[in-house]
């Protein structure tokens, strides 16, 4: 009798935990974070390639989503995946130099992105090494603090700060 009631109570707890920890519908992640992910990717791989990386990012996220345990920082999780896809993209392209000045490649951001990007600066960001580029994009396109940049890049906050610093130093030199 006692065993039975403990078992049913356990079942009740399991159901409660399941309800409380249920993952939100994936569409909410898209509604909340898609434009940030796109902004980061445009900074990291350029506007013309960002669209493909965006698809790869969210397909990978969708694939992994049902098994995701920690939902406390979904934005950081998505940006981490986006960063990895940007790196994959650079690897796939090999060491070929990036086309710096595509005639139509103005990095203008659509009005609803809410970020005014100066096209001159962002084309300079486009030729930074991947880690510096990602750090700059996360900091200035998405306004992430160092700790979140570190989480997205999978490195320590110190290393994130260093990448950002190096990136900015180089930009100053390029644009001077």
């Amino acid at each position: 009798m006692q065993v039975a009631s403990r078992v049913s109570r356990l079942g009740l707890w399991q159901r409660l935990i399941q309800q409380v920890s249920a993952l939100p519908p994936f569409q909410i992640l898209l509604d909340d974070h898609a434009s940030d992910v796109m902004a980061v990717l445009r900074g990291a791989v350029g506007r013309s390639e960002a669209e493909d990386c965006f698809q790869e990012t969210f397909l990978a996220a969708l694939r992994a989503y049902p098994k995701l345990r920690d939902t406390s920082n979904l934005r950081g999780w998505l940006l981490t995946i986006a960063h990895r896809k940007a790196i994959d993209h650079h690897r796939a392209k090999g060491r070929r130099p990036l086309p710096v000045a595509e005639p139509e490649a103005r990095i203008a951001v659509e009005p609803n992105d809410g970020i005014a990007l100066d096209s001159g600066i962002w084309s300079a960001v486009g030729v930074l090494p991947p880690k510096q580029r990602a750090a700059v994009a996360l900091r200035y396109a998405c306004d992430l603090p160092h700790a979140e940049i570190a989480a997205a890049l999978g490195c320590s906050p110190e290393a994130a700060r260093r990448s950002l610093h190096e990136g900015i130093k180089r930009l100053r030199k390029e644009l001077a």
Binding site: P24, F26, L30, A34
Partner: protein
């Protein structure tokens, strides 16, 4: 951003990552939320119900891979439009019954067999679900119908002909029965 999201939904469907596709549809009663799995239509959420709540429930009960994908629901929306115009008397859509099990599932299937423009009593439904004494359970099962309109629980009335209840509100039940020519 809209075209990127549409493309994402299409690719997710092609790679079997779209477990629940949803869209809204207009109706004379307000916006309906329609949701579909690869097996078929799984949920019609009536205007009286909070759509965000409905999506949360789908995420918990079916899969969290829930995406807005209107093109996936074109056929369901087309048939519903025709139904509301009085031009369609029988839905031809695959249904996913996973949100009702056991006796409730049997009741839902019995409801699905009631022809357009006809009604049954809760008692008749209980009987055709295999237990004529389970009238109250049949009533509860009608009330928890996850696919209303398409599974026409509005065609189930009290034995004396009184309307009984309806998840979308009694005026909606009345209007549907008027549309089908049962009431006038």
């Amino acid at each position: 951003m809209k075209s990127e999201l549409q493309r994402l939904a299409d690719r997710a469907a092609a790679e079997a990552l779209l477990d629940v596709a949803y869209a809204t549809a207009d109706s004379p009663f307000g916006k309906l939320l329609l949701a579909q799995t690869p097996r078929g239509l799984v949920k019609v959420s009536l205007p009286a119900y909070d759509p965000d709540q409905a999506l949360q429930e789908l995420a918990a009960q079916v899969s969290p891979r829930v995406l807005e994908a209107p093109s996936q629901l074109d056929e369901a929306r087309r048939q519903l439009d025709l139904y509301f115009e009085g031009k369609l008397t029988e839905f031809d859509l695959p249904l996913d019954w996973r949100l009702t099990q056991g006796f409730r599932g049997k009741v839902q299937r019995a409801i699905a067999r009631i022809p357009y423009g006809q009604t049954r009593s809760y008692m008749q439904i209980a009987a055709s679900a295999g237990n004529k004494r389970a009238v109250r359970a049949a009533g509860t099962a009608c009330g928890s119908n996850p696919i209303p309109i398409v599974v026409p629980c509005h065609r189930v009335l009290r034995s004396g002909g009184a309307l009984g209840g309806y998840g979308g509100g009694l005026p909606m039940k009345e209007a549907l029965l008027e549309l089908e020519g049962v009431l006038r």
